[in-house]
């Protein structure tokens, strides 16, 4: 337990939460998972902030009857984290309500499809045809691909 004292474990937890959150945002395509990724990332950042001045056994910085506690917890990060949590919850709620709107309009929560449909909507509004999408292979590319597959399955 010498190496893994509670502080180290908490730091690992904070960076771990941030890592999980970032990978959730970057890797997944489902909007709900991305939103949860943001929530996890925020939780990790908040934990990191709390840890920045964490002391085990520190008392609240309140002086009662003239007794000054030997070790007092720093109130600044706590105030900041409280603010950050409130902002985070507000943004989470906003994100969910926007997700409902997007789902109603586009009928999907897949980020790739949302992006494609958004691109189509912008282009249609602007009156230009869609640029060839990088996500769909062009027709010419399909032919040799299919023929290779057929040859392989045939042999």
């Amino acid at each position: 337990m010498d190496i893994l004292d509670s502080n180290t474990i908490l730091y690992i937890a904070a960076f771990g939460l941030m890592l999980i959150g970032i990978s959730g945002i970057v890797i997944s395509n489902h909007l709900m998972r991305i939103i949860f990724g943001i929530a996890l990332l925020e939780a990790g950042a908040n934990l990191l902030l709390m840890l920045s001045t964490y002391h085990e056994g520190a008392a609240a910085p309140i002086i009662v009857d003239g007794n000054v506690p030997a070790m007092m917890a720093d109130p600044v990060p706590q105030a900041l984290v409280l603010t950050a949590i409130v902002i985070g919850v507000g943004i989470l709620a906003l994100a969910l309500s926007l997700a409902i709107r997007v789902q109603r309009a586009y009928g999907t929560l897949d980020m790739r499809e949302v992006r494609l449909k958004l691109e189509q909507e912008i282009s249609a509004d602007a009156g230009i045809d869609m640029p060839s999408s990088s996500e769909k292979p062009a027709d010419i590319a399909k032919v040799p691909l299919n023929s290779v597959v057929q040859q392989e399955s045939g042999s």
Partner: protein, 488 residues
């Protein structure tokens, strides 16, 4: 004496009271927003002369520096607080359905923007930055189309990611120094943040605050948002809000982070921003997205300017920022009716000759044709870079010049279309009078600056010198020496 506090408090208070005022009188609710912004701008302007002598620090609630909430007002901060207030006034949202909601949001934007510019500690910077972000979600989505909801959501994802990273950066700073007050951080930074942890904190905060400043890897939201939001909101976001995020990065760079690696990171990301933004703008086929991508490019130039060490870099960045502050909003105002395909703009100069002429002027200044101010701004960036005599800075200068020729190519393509003899099949809408008047006003500012170039440059240089004076900052915030950072 502390009238400056009103610059933040008045718009915020009015924003929250607006729906109650609307119950009493709809007329009052419609006019009070612009009136309050006018009053706020007047307050800011009245304080200006005092600040040119010496910056002021305001301790909210009367608690002294490291404990209380500090506002720091120098010309640099006030310039952008004023830009935010006057910019919101000029680009006051005009929608028929959600007028009340948009007005509240615009007032909130003005108040939080001024607060962000004037903040003297990281705590308030974070809070105001987040508030400003949330307000801009509301403004973008206020158009009510499915596209605006989708782009807001995509913007929110990137912004939420950035804000969490910035918070983690703040945590690293606090862990090392035990303070969030910028003056105290400036004192402690050379000793405690000149290491890997400080550098990590800088990168985290750069990426976090860079989301709004259209920094290279976190700017995917830009084209989508500017294409789906109303032009006035795009003008505000691209013209003013992005500069405020840049101001925060500049402050951190001047006061807290002095690592040479930090400048290299800025330089590389700036070069990438210029290259990708201008190339994408060159490929764009509709005016809104062309302007959006080109603003990524211009913000890239500002990041490159910031990476120049010393006072020259701050001066250059300030010049490019102020130039862009005038130019981009008026371009977006012109795009209000010219949004959509560039092909469809053929012959539009006939229906709106003033708009077309203005577009030519703005394009020339954006490219950097002398004697327009855009030329001098770019010159200020490039000259000190060449003087540094380092390969990466030479390369950056080359990229900026190459980008200028790309800009010329795509902007002149639009100009050629505008003055084409054959009109397009669908007739063009002439510009709304107010849009055009505002755009002409901003354009006239650009032309006027040509004739006041020397005093203007002196003024900007004075602002840059004052902004980069770390010891004055510390002295102003805390006349008595601050106690050393709390021992962990």
């Amino acid at each position: 004496m502390n009238l400056l506090v009103l610059m933040i408090a008045l718009p915020l208070l009015t924003a929250f009271l607006l729906s109650s005022i609307n119950r009493l009188s709809t007329f009052a609710a419609r006019v009070i927003g612009p009136l309050v912004l006018l009053a706020t701008a007047a307050i800011g302007l009245s304080v200006w002369p005092q600040l040119s002598a010496a910056p002021q620090a305001i301790q909210w609630g009367g608690f002294q520096a490291p404990l209380g909430i500090t506002l720091y007002a120098d010309q640099f901060a006030l310039l952008f607080a004023l830009a935010m207030t006057i910019g919101t006034l000029l680009l006051w949202p005009r929608s028929t359905e959600n007028q009340l909601r948009s007005s509240s949001l615009a007032l909130l934007l003005a108040g939080t923007g001024s607060g962000l510019a004037l903040s003297g500690d990281l705590f308030n910077i974070y809070v105001f930055y987040e508030l400003m972000t949330v307000v801009s979600y509301g403004l973008i989505a206020s158009r009510g189309t499915s596209g605006s909801f989708a782009s807001t959501l995509r913007y929110l994802v990137i912004s939420g990611f950035g804000a969490a990273l910035a918070l983690a950066g703040i945590a690293l700073v606090y862990q090392a120094t035990g303070t969030l007050n910028l003056a105290q951080l400036a004192q402690l930074a050379p000793e405690k943040l000149n290491n890997l942890q400080g550098f990590a904190a800088f990168v985290l905060m750069l990426v976090g605050f860079g989301v709004k400043a259209e920094l290279f890897p976190v700017n995917m939201w830009v084209p989508e948002v500017y294409a789906t939001a109303s032009s006035r909101v795009s003008a505000l976001l691209a013209g003013v809000v992005s500069k405020l995020a840049l101001l925060i990065i500049m402050r951190l760079l001047i006061l807290v982070f002095h690592q040479p690696e930090a400048l290299t990171v800025l330089l590389v990301l700036g070069i990438l921003g210029v290259a990708t933004g201008e190339l994408a703008a060159w490929r764009a086929r509709d005016l809104n997205r062309m302007l959006a991508f080109s603003s990524i490019g211009q913000l890239g130039v500002m990041f490159i300017a910031l990476s120049i060490p010393g006072n020259a870099g701050i001066f250059a960045a300030l010049a490019v920022m102020v130039h862009h502050l005038f130019l981009k909003p008026s371009m977006f105002l012109l795009a209000e009716r010219w949004g959509g395909s560039i092909k469809a703009l053929a012959g539009a100069a006939k229906t709106s000759p003033v708009g077309a002429a203005l577009f030519v002027l703005l394009s020339l200044s954006l490219i950097g044709v002398p004697p327009l101010p855009g030329f001098w701004a770019k010159l200020l960036v490039i000259m000190p870079m060449l003087a540094l005599d380092q390969p990466l800075y030479y390369f950056a200068a080359f990229v900026i010049l190459a980008a200028a020729s790309l800009e010329a190519n795509y902007l002149f393509r639009v100009v050629m279309k505008l003055y084409e003899k054959e009109p397009a099949a669908t007739p063009h809408n002439a510009h709304a009078t107010l849009d055009l008047a505002t755009a002409v006003f901003l354009g006239a500012g650009l032309v006027a600056s040509v004739f006041m170039l020397v005093p203007l440059a002196d003024r900007l240089d004075g602002i840059a010198v004052q902004a980069s004076d770390v010891s004055t900052y510390i002295q102003t915030v805390a006349p008595q020496p601050l106690e050393a950072g709390r021992v962990q």
